[in-house]
């Protein structure tokens, strides 16, 4: 019984975003989703591959897509940036037999036939698991928590086509937040760009973009931000961390992964060490709201 899924954690869920990995593992089993890690997965290539070398930008995702296909599993990439790379590579490979042939030469002896479906965390929760089931599993509703859903760029901006969710005003994350008993506060920055991987190379740009997003979250009196992207989480959290003079945004808003809230609402309690992985530690807010014991 249940849904078997090829789990692609990606590089950051094994390092800077461990808390995303841990919370997915803590919550998905109870929703009837069996996570089967894509055997020996490799990095999707990220911004670097598509910036410098198109062949790599296709072949690196293709290797994982081929392995998932061999296992007969859809591929679930929780990080929005990985997800987008898989989605675009998959579409290109499915559209052109010639290209598929060329890329298969790069990844041989693996041989991708174009049969793997790619899923992000919201599609999985809303379309496959279903919000009815999510609601049934909620034992500790996140009552009173005012959250802003921060989609970022890559969940629903799909060129030449439509994502399942709306391109300019996506709602899946709001729907999940409300299914968990929290309040999804409307705000103008749900699709604004945080600057993504420019945080290493162009700090000033990321400070400008991410600070603007935090300003807007503050303006609607949100108590925390929810996201599904490891770059978004990192940038918004870092901007408030005080670890550098430039990172001094005063919002003091925890930035949650959607799966952390999901796991909590389903009764899972994380150890203190888990919350310490956030620059803005959410414990204080969660205690104040009576959502965890101090």
């Amino acid at each position: 019984m249940g849904l078997q899924i090829g789990y692609f954690p990606g590089c950051s869920l094994h390092s800077s975003a461990k808390e995303y990995n841990d919370s997915i593992k803590a919550s998905f089993g109870d929703l009837g989703v069996e996570l089967r890690e894509v055997p020996d997965w490799n990095c999707c290539g990220a911004t670097a591959a598509h910036s410098l070398n198109e062949a790599l930008a296709l072949a690196l995702p293709a290797r994982n897509l081929a392995i998932a296909e061999r296992e007969g599993l859809p591929l679930f990439a929780p990080c929005s940036a990985c997800y987008h790379r898989f989605l675009l590579a998959n579409r290109k490979l499915r559209e052109s037999e010639e290209l598929l042939l060329e890329v298969n030469e790069l990844i041989s002896p693996l041989d991708y036939k174009g049969g793997t479906e790619v899923k992000n965390i919201l599609e999985l929760l809303v379309e496959d698991v279903g919000l009815k089931k999510v609601k049934e599993r909620v034992t500790h509703p996140l009552k009173g928590l005012r959250l802003v859903s921060y989609y970022g760029c890559l969940l629903s901006r799909v060129p030449h086509g439509r994502a399942a969710d709306d391109t300019e005003n996506p709602v899946y994350m709001d729907m999940v937040v409300e299914a968990l008993g929290a309040e999804a506060v409307p705000w103008p920055s749900k699709m604004d760009c945080c600057g993504a991987s420019l945080n290493i190379t162009e700090e000033a740009i990321v400070c400008r973009l991410s600070s603007h997003i935090l300003d807007n979250a503050q303006a609607v009196q949100a108590q925390a931000v929810v996201t599904s992207c490891t770059l978004c989480q990192m940038n918004l959290d870092l901007m408030q961390s005080g670890t550098k003079p430039a990172y001094n945004h005063p919002a003091n808003l925890p930035v949650f992964y959607i799966s952390e809230l999901l796991a909590m609402a389903m009764g899972h309690s994380f150890p203190a060490a888990h919350w310490k992985k956030h620059f803005i530690n959410p414990r204080e807010l969660l205690e104040k709201m009576g959502l965890i014991q101090s």
Partner: protein, 192 residues
């Protein structure tokens, strides 16, 4: 492209129709249908920092202005956020065009751009990926800081992240490293 195709116009800029054809062919995007509505640039989050905003980059492609397009800082700053692509009334995937210009610039001039540090970061990223099949953030960041001569500038942050359990000093890697190396070798033989 043949040099003979290049035409110098009165303001000194060089027109190369072969460049237009090359980008059209590489991207498959309907670049010629752009009518300069500026919707892309109006929504571009990086436009304030760009020397050549997306609408202008598209114009350069239409006009065959290879040098101007490939010398732009903005092709390196573009965050590939796809805001422009999903809004273009002519359904041009502008982010795809920016990405293609970036690769053409890299092929012809490597890191000879004021944004060389961004090129270096991408190179080091792919280096780590080639070696391990996965990217090791700690090592990547240390190598980047070292290369750009700003080592220890972010040391406080690095230490903090280490103690938060966000950074690991043990490299994660794939088992089948040979296969990853093979993919890189084959891809480097294939042009672009």
């Amino acid at each position: 492209m043949k040099q003979s195709e290049r035409i110098q116009v009165s303001d000194g800029s060089v027109i190369d129709p072969g460049f237009t054809q090359q980008v059209l062919q590489l991207t498959g995007e309907e670049v010629m249908s752009c009518f300069q509505c500026l919707k892309c640039t109006n929504g571009c989050p990086l436009a304030p920092e760009m020397d050549v905003p997306p609408n202008k980059a598209i114009r350069y492609v239409q006009l065959g202005m290879r040098d101007a397009a490939l010398a732009a800082d903005s092709i390196w700053i573009c965050a590939t956020c796809y805001t422009c692509s999903v809004r273009c009334p002519n359904d041009i995937d502008i982010a795809h065009v920016m990405d293609t210009l970036r690769r053409l610039a890299y092929q012809s001039q490597g890191d000879a751009t004021p944004k060389a540090h961004i090129v270096h970061f991408h190179e080091l990223f792919l280096d780590s990926l080639k070696q391990y099949g996965r990217v090791n953030e700690t090592k990547l960041l240390a190598r980047y800081e070292l290369k750009e001569g700003r080592f220890l500038k972010d040391a406080k942050l690095g230490m903090k992240m280490f103690f938060m359990g966000k950074m690991s000093i043990f490299p994660q890697k794939v088992e089948n490293k040979e296969q990853i190396k093979l993919i890189f070798d084959r891809a480097s033989k294939r042009k672009g």
